[in-house]
């Protein structure tokens, strides 16, 4: 596609060499992000920190979809901002193809920003209302001029629009002339234009109507198959995450409490929070109605500015013992076949099994 830019220019592979097969493409190690809480107008005094992300470890392999689920305020959106370098981590590392993103300079960072793209939740806020669809999709090429030579850009734009299921004739239209689902396709085309390796999908279907959600989910799956993309799929909708993800990580109050393949996490959740979360999701099959036991959690999520000592979940947990207040449980395999951050991890089936 970019044969004419070879020659003397460095190729992407020179800047960020590819990782060997099977090694993680993106690795997050003990990632932390604290936002200072300040007081005062002119002379700001830091009076504490909101621990939005507090020790997250995940990895993403090529062609894989990792689902990151959690409720509002658990820090999952901050993780997405950290991953696309819109925020700087307070501590910990993001390794991309083995290199620390925080230590990347000039060219490597630019290449990283090309290879790791983001799709936002709100298709109404994520497109500049004063730019045509063509300009929006092609914008990345003005920044990364080597991807598409200036001459063929219009045609490339139209090809991309066609690829994501938009009528290529609409290249000169403005975002407000499209429906929510179509706008989300524009956002996907904008990300695809840079030929990324990884796409961070931050609640990409939450704002869409149910009948349109499936179209976008299917499109994302097709694009993954065609281009070998890796997705970090961040969502609060556990059903969508189960459908699209190979592996799933569950987040609570800034850290990951359970991680495993989709069938491990949904089929035999072992962390009490995961169990409560899954038991709250309504089932769709009438035959399963009433068969499910509901675990109702008491109270609200504690403030991330002042999280509980030890295990974050202990204030709402029915299994909590003295040890939970003292020792934060590590995210390790406790005999369930997948890691769980609970001292008393125990697999339990909370989602009724499909009867069909």
């Amino acid at each position: 596609m970019s044969e004419d830019v070879a020659g003397s220019l460095p190729t992407p592979e020179d800047v960020l060499p590819n990782v060997p097969e099977g090694a993680p493409l993106l690795e997050v190690k003990d990632l932390k992000k604290y936002f200072p809480l300040t007081q005062g107008i002119l002379f700001k005094k830091t009076i504490g920190h909101v621990r939005a992300v507090d020790g997250v470890n995940v990895s993403l392999r090529r062609g894989e979809t990792l689902g990151l689920v959690g409720e509002s305020g658990c820090g999952k959106s901050t993780v997405s901002k950290l991953l696309v370098a819109l925020e700087k981590p307070s501590d910990g590392q993001i390794l991309y193809k083995g290199k620390d993103v925080a230590k990347m300079g000039g060219r490597a960072l630019k290449q990283y920003r090309r290879e790791v793209q983001i799709i936002f939740q709100d298709p109404y806020a994520s497109l500049n209302p004063r730019m045509t669809v063509g300009d929006i999709v092609a914008e990345g090429w003005s920044v990364h001029a080597d991807i598409a030579p200036r001459k063929g850009r219009l045609q490339r734009t139209q090809e991309l629009m066609d690829r994501v299921g938009l009528n290529p004739d609409f290249v000169n239209r403005y975002p407000h002339q499209f429906s929510g689902g179509q706008r989300q396709r524009i956002g996907i085309a904008r990300a695809l234009a840079l030929q990324p390796e990884v796409i961070i999908c931050d609640e990409p279907v939450s704002a869409l109507d149910v009948s349109v959600q499936a179209q976008v989910v299917n499109l994302l799956e097709d694009l993954q198959d065609d281009f070998g993309l890796s997705y970090l799929f961040i969502a609060h909708d556990l059903s969508v995450v189960r459908h699209i993800s190979d592996r799933v990580a569950v987040m609570y109050l800034g850290s990951i409490v359970e991680q495993g393949t989709a069938s491990q996490v949904y089929g035999s959740p072992s962390h009490p929070y995961t169990q409560a979360l899954l038991s709250s999701v309504p089932v769709h099959q009438p035959a399963l109605r009433g068969l499910k036991e509901r675990i109702l959690l008491q109270g609200d999520v504690p403030s991330p500015a002042n999280p509980p000592s030890g295990c974050r979940f202990r204030t709402r947990c029915w299994k909590a013992q003295d040890i939970c207040a003292v020792e934060p449980p590590a995210l390790v395999d406790r005999g369930q076949g997948h890691p769980s951050a609970c001292h008393f991890a125990e697999a339990r089936e909370v989602v009724p099994v499909d009867v069909e």
Partner: protein
């Protein structure tokens, strides 16, 4: 099925867009040209009656300022005869005479140059200061914003006329190029120096709103530079409300010039401007109302011309307003 139904069906399917049936991309390039915001805005302006009304009026007044002799029916505004003092309009002298017995039509026409110069230069100054300072304050935030916003607050505390009055009073003693000679340039500078704050606040608040939007985050995540983000994303979205404010301000500044003249620090006779005419005419309102009436009408029409153009431009720059 009737033709109408078939057409509806087709229409609905187009509306629906293609779905995820993903064939290999085979695209015929149907439009060889890619539109931009500005070309679309021009296409919209061309079809706007409001814009053309404003533009025609604007062209008339600008040519009045450039070639006054064409509009003054060949009369020299300084060719006066005291015998005609305060003469009322007649077939030969459409707008009558002023107190000195000078042809008033010629005077009003010759006043266009100074008044427009002050209005337009003043607003350009306001826009320049307002957009630059507002964009910097909004975009960089934190300390920069605090400092610039407090400076704007200090300027707000000074009334426009008072500030301009002081500047024009001390101007001649400073020896600075434009300020020291009391011409339209000095008046425009004085008015801009004390009138930029509202434009700055408008731009600042818009920039702050747009800066935190997802599409700016998307551009940033792509690696776009600050300059690119400012020029491509933030300013086009932030400038529209300022444009409308600017067109109204042209009229405010032309009127402010009249006040400064009245206070003895604006343009002074024998200079000719609408502000001077209105100021001088006020004392004769009972005996010769036409001396206030005619320059006021022209001033109002001028301001209207700019407001109409500004309004049309704002709508044209907002794709959501288009049908």
């Amino acid at each position: 099925m009737t033709d109408q139904q078939q057409k509806d069906l087709q229409h609905d399917e187009v509306q629906a867009g293609t779905t995820t049936g993903l064939a290999a991309p085979s695209v015929d390039v149907t439009s060889s040209r890619q539109n931009s915001l500005w070309s679309d805005a021009w296409g919209q302006l061309r079809r706007s009656a409001i814009f053309w009304t404003g533009a025609v009026l604007g062209v008339i007044f600008v040519s009045m300022a450039l070639f006054p002799s064409l509009f003054a029916r060949g009369v020299d505004p300084r060719d006066c005869d005291l015998a005609n003092s305060k003469g009322t309009p007649s077939a030969a002298h459409w707008l009558g005479f002023d107190q000195q017995g000078c042809d008033y039509l010629a005077n009003v026409v010759y006043g266009a140059r100074n008044s427009l110069l002050i209005g337009v230069l003043g607003v350009l100054g306001v826009l320049l200061l307002g957009v630059v300072v507002g964009a910097i304050a909004g975009f960089y935030g934190r300390l920069t914003d605090s400092v610039l916003s407090r400076i704007a607050d200090i300027f707000y505390a000074l009334p426009l006329i008072l500030g301009a009055l002081v500047l024009l009073r001390v101007g001649p003693s400073t020896g600075l190029p434009v300020i020291s000679e009391r011409g339209p340039g000095a008046v425009a500078v004085a008015l801009a120096a004390f009138g930029w704050m509202t434009a700055m606040r408008l731009v600042r608040s818009q920039v702050i709103a747009v800066k935190s939007s997802d599409y700016v985050a998307a551009a940033r995540a792509m690696g776009a530079s600050d300059f690119r983000i400012l020029v491509r994303h933030i300013l086009p979205n932030a400038v529209a409300p300022v444009l409308v404010y600017a067109t109204i301000t042209i009229g405010v500044l032309i009127a402010a010039e009249a006040t400064l003249t009245f206070l003895g620090v604006g343009l002074q006779p024998p200079a000719i401007s609408w502000g001077l005419q209105i100021a001088q005419g006020q004392s004769l309102l009972r005996t010769a109302p036409h001396l206030v009436l005619f320059p006021s009408i022209i001033l109002t029409l001028t301001v209207m011309a700019f407001i109409l153009m500004g309004d049309a431009l704002r709508d044209a720059l907002d794709p959501r307003q288009r049908s």
